[in-house]
Symmetry: C2
Subunit: 349 residues, 2 copies
DNA sequence: TTGAAAGCGGTACCAA
DNA sequence: TTGGTACCGCTTTCAA
């Protein structure tokens, strides 16, 4: 059944040379002759040799794997990020171990401990925890590391994400330009993304001299991890207010999904009665009940850049300076905010 | 920066006992005294000892990781499956390495080779390839292994999935009962799930003495991996037919998403003019343009059961008989197929 | 109940 | 250009 693996040793004996020579030949070490390398390569193919990674790890002290912890694997945004990371590191022979924290700081901590115990060569984290303890823990271990999507206050480490304040600003301004007068916000949790977007929302209103009504900022039920159902509840609350908002900036696309559901249930039209905008540009955002306007966050790029950052750190001799990569969000306009006839078709008065 | 790890050796020296004693104590080996174990445990906590997995792997021949290859990580269905697997194996100290084949057999092959090279202790695969070569390859390596979601003809190996014929049958019958007379099918690819669901669709029609119109079975563009956009195209084609269908059974939820978009664009109503049903009960299926009726496939359970299957195989001495776990699909009725007023409100004539 | 020795399959250092 | 030797940290076998 499980026939014994081919070892370096077997190839060496076979060729009548030393193990170490084969080892070097495989890794294309400069001090082996072309001829020998060719012979070795030949034999490797014939015997279908595969290096033993445990042995290699033990000898080099590297595990050739990186750990990725996200709050929710099923969220299309994080799934895209993971895909981006995976694609990027695979090219260098690295594999990705994933875990989901389910938006729970304690669980996140556990998953990280687990990966550190497994000696991952790097860690990439979208943290569910605004506190710095977890980041400190990781850094005290000296593992190359990057935060993504959500920054942590006071942390000096690699970060790849989008300017959240800009997202909130952009989304809100878009609704203002679409003619909304009473813009509400379903805000996210008390982490950098949630906080930044609220800030951007308020800044945009201020910039247009629109008064911020605190009651128009509602938060999703914090006990609920599922953004869509909690977006639904939050929107229902907004709909009881008088006057009813005519535009809503949602924390992210799943939240917008829930909001849309509540709006339809109330018998209102989107975008005529109420315009909706999300954030994330998740895969299915264009196919919703009403195609959803959103702010693109470059999910795949976040994965790619963070992966590159930690890979560089892995191969570097001395510790590198932490780097912050802030990607530029981009407005994607779809039906859910198209309140005016398109200018090209029928100029508004 | 990277202070040297604590080793078994350090603990042993510290306590004035032998390395092997510590090793046994850690693994709760029966021949170590309670007292010694307690002392060791104590010291381990104090020094924050973490075993070196590379060393352990090398000595035991196990890698304590399992590889999971799915066609698309961003697809909520597969994401749920991965989550289920991860949760299940984590408890036993195993980690999950993931890769996406992007629905490409060649890429799938590559990812599998990669994982085999990394000596995963087990492999779980939702194959993009209907041919048996890949399965044979895996089995020739003697790695514990399970296919999920999609079976492969001729393969004798573990399989965990849903009865696809039953899915097709159930969905179609539901539309018949909802009063649809001209039921079309947007079929999936030429793999077990696609084939099984078509078969179920035809069987259900036959059972109700409805003639199958071949032109009502359209396939998504095979060159397209994105089910939603290809569902859209397929539906557009169906809408050009005369008579226009009044019901459509979609291969899966993303396909239904695309179909719904096309239907709305054509100015038709769902479900009054055209009822739509999907499969998968993906996370956002209830929040779509029209809440989508679907067939639940127990995604999390698929992950869990497949994980248990391979974990058992890993810990078993002799090879186990391949097992097939067929889960029972379940109809989820939502708005997209509610054509009649609800019986409780207004009995139909 | 405890421990000594050998070995898992590689890599690095240094000598030939 | 090639290779001997030691060692990475843990587990298994068998003896004390």
């Amino acid at each position: 059944m499980n026939r014994p693996r081919v070892r370096l040793r077997d190839i060496a004996d076979d060729l009548g040379i030393a193990v170490i020579t084969v080892s070097k030949a495989i890794r294309n070490h400069p001090d082996i002759s072309k001829q020998t390398k060719a012979r070795v390569q030949e034999r490797i193919r014939q015997l279908n040799y595969q290096p033993n990674w445990a042995a290699r790890s033990l000898a080099t002290g590297k595990s050739f794997s990186i750990g990725v912890v996200v709050p929710d694997l099923v969220h299309p945004f994080f799934a895209e990020v993971v895909k981006g990371i995976s694609a990027e590191v695979r090219a260098e022979g690295y594999s990705v171990m994933v875990a989901s924290s389910e938006e729970d700081p304690a669980m996140e901590r556990q998953q990280i401990e687990f990966f550190l115990g497994r000696q991952v060569d790097a860690l990439i984290l979208a943290s569910a925890d605004p506190k710095i303890e977890t980041v400190d823990l990781i850094q005290s271990r000296g593992v190359p590391f990057a935060l993504i999507d959500r920054s942590v206050e006071g942390a000096t480490c690699n970060f790849v994400g989008v300017d959240d304040e800009r997202i909130g600003h952009m989304a809100t301004e878009h609704l203002i330009e679409a003619g909304c007068k009473r813009i509400a916000h379903i805000r996210g949790p008390e982490i950098s993304t949630g906080i930044g977007r609220v800030r951007g929302y308020m800044a945009a209103l201020a910039a247009h001299r629109i008064k911020v009504r605190p009651e128009y900022i509602v938060s999703r039920d914090s006990s609920d991890t599922r953004a869509d159902t909690s977006g639904y509840e939050a929107m229902k609350r907004l709909l009881t207010m008088r006057p009813v908002p005519d535009g809503v900036v949602c924390y992210n696309d799943p939240t917008a999904l829930g909001a849309i559901k509540a709006i339809f249930e109330a018998g209102l039209r989107i975008p005529q009665d109420l315009a909706v905008i999300g954030a994330g540009n998740d895969r299915y955002a264009g196919e919703l009940r009403v195609p959803l306007s959103t702010i693109d966050q470059q999910h795949q790029t976040i994965g790619q850049r963070s992966a590159r950052l930690v890979m560089r750190a892995i191969s570097s001799e001395e510790p590198l300076k932490p780097k912050t990569v802030l990607l530029v969000p981009q407005l994607i306009v779809r039906e859910s905010t198209m309140r005016k006839a398109r200018p090209s078709l029928q100029p508004t008065s």
